[in-house]
């Protein structure tokens, strides 16, 4: 498998989020099952800046994490047969290093550490001006796959 890029429209095949919750603009390079890298350009037009905060607009940390999680998702949903699958977050451990501001280009780099039976462990880093703004260890799942491997639930016994 070779790496490829995804523009905003192609990206929608692999990423179920839509406006106003798409936190990535462009995938510069994705190697399915291995990594995905791309970016989000932030303008003062972003819907959250007027409220977060009126006197000091900056990208909410939760949305920085979402951007990394969405990029990691792309690294998985581009695998054969997984296009359009919905992913859920299981656990994220995130650190924030600096504010992400209007006018910044948030460069998002994610790598898949493991992908097995519907669970992906991965790592993401967000950078602005070549400095780390946020980083996270993430576990996401594709429930449709995970559920195939589970014993019968107590509720269904």
């Amino acid at each position: 498998m070779e790496e490829f890029s995804l523009g905003p429209l192609e990206l929608q095949k692999y990423q179920p989020n839509r406006y106003p919750f798409i936190m990535i603009d462009y995938v510069d390079a994705v190697l399915p099952g291995a990594y995905a890298r791309g970016h989000k350009n932030l303008t003062l037009n972003e819907w959250y800046f007027p409220k977060h905060f009126p006197d000091g607009p900056n990208m909410p940390g939760a949305l920085q994490l979402e951007a990394m999680a969405q990029m990691l998702t792309v690294a998985i949903t581009t695998l054969p047969g997984l296009e359009g699958e919905v992913t859920h977050a299981i656990s994220h451990f995130v650190k924030f290093k600096k504010e992400v501001l209007p006018g910044d280009k948030l460069v998002i780099e994610t790598e898949v550490l493991s992908w097995k039976r519907g669970i992906c462990k991965g790592r993401g880093v967000g950078k602005t001006n070549n400095e780390i703004a946020c980083e996270a260890d993430m576990i996401i799942t594709i429930p449709n796959i995970l559920e195939k491997y589970l014993p019968q639930s107590k509720q269904n016994r």
């Binding site: 299981i90 039976r117 995970l146 491997y149 014993p151 019968q152 639930s153 107590k154």
Partner: protein, 80 residues
């Protein structure tokens, strides 16, 4: 370390339980930690510990501490 000790250690590590809790009543979803994600974590750790690759049907059938030993015997993991 015996296979039984290795097996117990996987459960203790994955589900944060004491060894005395590991008996026939220790089943899937009997503790909060043994949920869907915990199940996959345990399977992955068992595979690493015993250097095996479990089949899908065995992962589904692995519904209790006791059943798990029977399933692992199919992979030539012998418990004394």
């Amino acid at each position: 370390m015996t296979n039984n000790e290795k097996y117990q250690d996987v459960f203790v590590n994955c589900f944060s339980v004491e060894k005395w809790q590991l008996n026939e009543k220790f089943i899937y979803e009997s503790v909060p930690e043994w949920d869907s994600v915990g199940h996959m974590g345990m399977i992955a750790e068992l595979e690493e510990t015993f250097d095996i690759m479990m089949e899908m049907d065995d992962i589904i059938d692995f519904s209790s501490y006791t059943t798990g030993k029977e399933i692992l015997s199919k992979y030539n993991i012998i418990f004394d």
